[in-house]
Symmetry: C2
Subunit: 287 residues, 2 copies
DNA sequence: GGCGCGGCTTGATCCAGATCAATGCCCGCG
DNA sequence: CGCGGGCATTGATCTGGATCAAGCCGCGCC
């Protein structure tokens, strides 16, 4: 079946405040390909400039999604002091590796990453996809060493915060402590959701749930909830969802035939959120 | 193939405190059968006695597995002050329900519990089995409400600790704070392991991994690592492992034929740990 | 522009585990 | 002591997704 044609989006400009301008799936892009989920660019002319590099949490557009959510202005400044911002990461580069000593926690600032856990025999399972504002490295707190790999799916920037300093500060700022606990807890809830998905949902439900999850997270970051670019391969989606890449591909095709979505390579548009929700919640239902 | 014969267990007596007397599959044991997973019995003659009921963390045999692990004596006393001990729970009773407001975190003190997450359509996935020393309720920190059900698989006792008090205390005691973070993090790691299991292991591997995990946890609590009683039904095991009860049953039978284990109902003995590990790590291998 | 490669789609077949269906066994209860 | 119900085992069959196998397509590179 023929793929729906997408209208062109406005070309990816940026506003002064540095709020990221979407990704979206433009065809034969303009010279500056639309970048998705990229943190505010610095003025093109600026050379590496520390003042620029160290955009503070207090000025960060992800503030309310990330660790500082809900902090008072004064507390925000204390947090600023301990966060090293903008460690850049090339596509394919490791943020940390399995068994590496825990140095810091990380927050994605721009770009997509994945974390994966490896089985003794080499099989690997992707444990999560991370977008700006997500905290990473939480797995390492328990044993002092990372127990998964974190890899950039595209060029990224991450903020780094030494765990000890964070713990020290959170002893002083109850709301930071509380929020940190909430983040840890939400990760546990997310994982339980994945266990439910992996343990008892069928392929189509898994995919539907996955797409809806991405959709919500994009929306929370101010991007379109219905039209976005998948930053990962079919194989990676499959690994995350406990499916083979062929199944992912087939299932997406079927969803397209059914008018739920339009896909073309990694560009995806959700055409019928409600049906998609139905599929996610009860398997085949809407035809 | 013929099933190994187990001697009958001592009949289910109770001590005065009402603590259930184990399971464990002791052969015609001594009058006091080794009890599995029951907190240390208090002097048999004591009647319900608050001083007794409130056995402090500092005197609890699970101290080193549970929240107080690694605390200095003085700090232990502060923790004692906030923990309400020994809320008893009958088999089948709910410790908390999905959507209930978070009151406290809980630590199992004796007995086995399960937590399960429900899908919109009624399917449910068991998210974990909990034994003495395990902390429960962590899922609720994020949103202030529980997102799973916790049910006693047998008569239990749990300790209760108000989250706010715990957070306040952990601001004062860095080692408590640290340990609490470690517990949260380890839960995340455990969940990632489950995701790997559910996403990429075959039935036999899942079961082998499950049994080895139980084995280790029993061992950590001073019980036999090779001979124990399953506290849950085949269906519950299946729900946890993403399998149907028939598959669980068949797979256990096959493992028995292969000389890896001996099962009879819920009594289980591991006959060959190494082969079991091989199975868990690489699927079929040892014959 | 064309070539090569990695990623994607699609078809054909296979198989692990689900599902359906009978019993069997243990335990609590009258 | 016998009966009934929940749990477990085991067999027969079915099927969703895996696996095997061709291409195809888009993109980066020469």
């Amino acid at each position: 079946m023929c793929v729906a044609r997408y209208a062109r989006t406005a070309s990816p400009t940026r506003n002064d405040s540095g709020a990221p301008i979407p990704h979206v799936l433009k065809p034969p892009g303009p010279p500056h390909p639309a970048h998705a989920l990229t943190a505010p660019a610095k003025p093109a002319s600026a050379r590496v400039d520390f003042a620029q590099l160290r955009v503070a949490c207090s000025a960060c557009s992800l503030r309310e999604l990330c660790l500082p959510a809900g902090l008072a202005a004064g507390d925000l400044r204390s947090l600023d002091a301990l966060v090293n911002r903008r460690r850049p990461l090339k596509r394919g580069a490791y943020l940390y590796r399995n068994d590496a000593r825990l140095q810091s926690l990380y927050a994605a600032r721009s770009g997509f990453l994945k974390t994966s856990v490896a089985h003794a025999d080499g099989r690997e399972q992707i444990a999560g996809f991370h977008m700006p504002g997500d905290l990473m490295g939480l797995d390492a707190i328990g044993g002092g060493r990372h127990v998964c790999d974190a890899v950039a799916l595209e060029d990224c920037e991450v903020c780094e915060m030494p765990l000890e300093a964070l713990e020290a500060l959170s002893r002083k700022i109850p709301s930071l402590q509380q929020h940190f606990h909430r983040i840890l807890s939400r990760e546990i809830v997310r994982d339980h959701g994945m266990m439910l998905l992996l343990g008892s949902m069928r392929a189509e439900e898994r995919l539907a749930a996955f797409l809806l999850n991405l959709s919500q997270r994009f929306a929370a970051r101010g991007y379109s909830s219905t039209e976005f670019m998948l930053r990962m391969t079919r194989e990676e989606i499959g690994s995350y969802l406990g499916l083979k890449l062929e199944t992912v591909s087939r299932t997406l095709s079927r969803m397209q035939s059914n008018g739920l979505i339009a896909v073309r390579n990694r560009q995806l548009r959700i055409l019928d959120v409600e049906k998609l929700q139905t599929v996610a919640n009860r398997g085949a239902a809407a035809g």
